[in-house]
């Protein structure tokens, strides 16, 4: 029988997902594996513990109030939030659609390579969660190569 492990049961419970939704099965700890895969790529954050570093909101709080605490929660709670956003916004799609429409006039459109980087990082997270470690390593190399090739983003932006 095939066993998929995406989140540890503790994380899944904290994320408020049912075992089925979270594909939780055996009590193996994938966080360690993620850490190993990411060891060579320090620019990628491990977001296993869903708590916002800016405002301290947890996913459990979000489930209770249906409200996030600050804009940074979107990134901090990305893993448990994403399936919910996907379900409420684009149930038919397999991945989150990218924002279309008005944007702040001061917000610069990202360059092609930054867009590519964002996509690769998202794919990497997906690969890790799907335990496709060969693919994850491959993506990590691509990200590293791309990072060497482009200017680091301006921190004032």
């Amino acid at each position: 029988m095939k066993t998929e492990r995406h989140l540890c049961s503790e994380c899944a419970a904290q994320a408020g997902l049912t075992a089925q939704e979270a594909h939780v099965d055996a009590p193996t700890n994938p966080v360690e594996m993620i850490k190993q895969v990411l060891a060579a790529g320090p620019e990628i954050e491990v977001r296993a513990a869903p708590e916002c570093p800016t405002c301290g909101s947890t996913f459990a709080r979000f489930r209770k109030m249906a409200l996030l605490g600050c804009p940074d929660c979107y990134q901090a709670l990305e893993v448990p939030l994403q399936p919910l956003i996907l379900r409420s916004q684009a149930a038919e799609a397999r991945e989150l659609p990218e924002h279309q429409g008005l944007r702040p006039s001061g917000f610069k459109s990202p360059t092609q390579s930054t867009k590519m980087l964002i996509r690769l990082e998202r794919d990497l997270q997906g690969a890790i969660h799907a335990e496709q470690y060969e693919r994850a390593a491959d993506l990590r190399d691509k990200i590293r190569k791309l990072n060497e090739g482009i200017e680091p983003p301006d921190p004032t932006e």
Partner: protein, 349 residues
Amino acid sequence: MILPFEQHEDDGLLDVVLISRARLARNISGEPFVNRANREEQIRIRDGIASALRGLPELGLHWFDPDTAPSAEGQVLLERHLVSPKFLEPGPHRLAGYREDARLSVMINEEDHLRIQGYGLAGGLSLAWANAKGCERLLDEHLNFAFNEQLGYLTACPTNVGTGIRLSLMLHLPGISLVGGMDRMQHAANDLNLEMRGTSGEGSEAIGHLHQISNRRTLGMDEEDLLHFLEDDFLSRVVREERRARDTLLNTRREFLDDRVQRALAMLRHARLLGEREALDLLSELRLGVAVGLLTGVPLETANQLMQRVRSGHLTRATGCTEEEPLRIQRADLVRRELGGGTPQSEST
């Protein structure tokens, strides 16, 4: 930028559509959302946004502070849909701005730091959107809104993330309802990822056959596409169905329809006490009678205005009454006066 407030709007859908609204949700970058902000932060957010708005006199806003204004005033703004029920709940340091012509309103520190609402009558969804967008673009030059590339505008509730837009239409659907088509309409709306609900928001009952339709999706579909989708794919279809249902009733069950309308008119013209709910239900029948041509003496506009003027907040403001029974008397008086009732002689006028 020229704001579209004075623009003429198409009232060709007035028989079915009462109000069109476009709401945009925005939050200030680097600040906690309202539900997580402490007192100082709430005040700082409110004052920052209010100061940007005060610097834009072309918006023509009047101000409403729920902490200091009399509660009847808030009730009137609520009945005009210029503020939400949530805005009037005791809570953080809130502030609203609105145009007296009800083309634009802003709410500060409701669920999000800023909610901008543009309005249009009848089929004026494009105008509603233009009003909201005009205000938003002006503010965009002064405020730094929380935004990211993937998710767009970041909102307190993820169901608004992306464009932060909610387009909504207040529809009068007595025809579809009387021919038993509401369930089908509900399913159709659901299939199109639209929310259909009663007049007072989520889960509320449809008083006077009034229904509110709004989009659910806010991510990955730009505002104009959504607008066209709502207008072309949904609204035109609903209007067609409602008119067809009214025609069917008129052609096949004329007495049934006429009886409802005439009874409603008689009640409205002769009642001495009228509750809010009862008045709205009767006015809905009256409006239907006017729209299908069974009643000729009453303009559709009068029926529409009455549906707002009989609301408790409006009546309290107009008469000073706050007690239930005097309000019922005042409501009946108002309706009799407007519909030429009271004595047999005046009924013919």
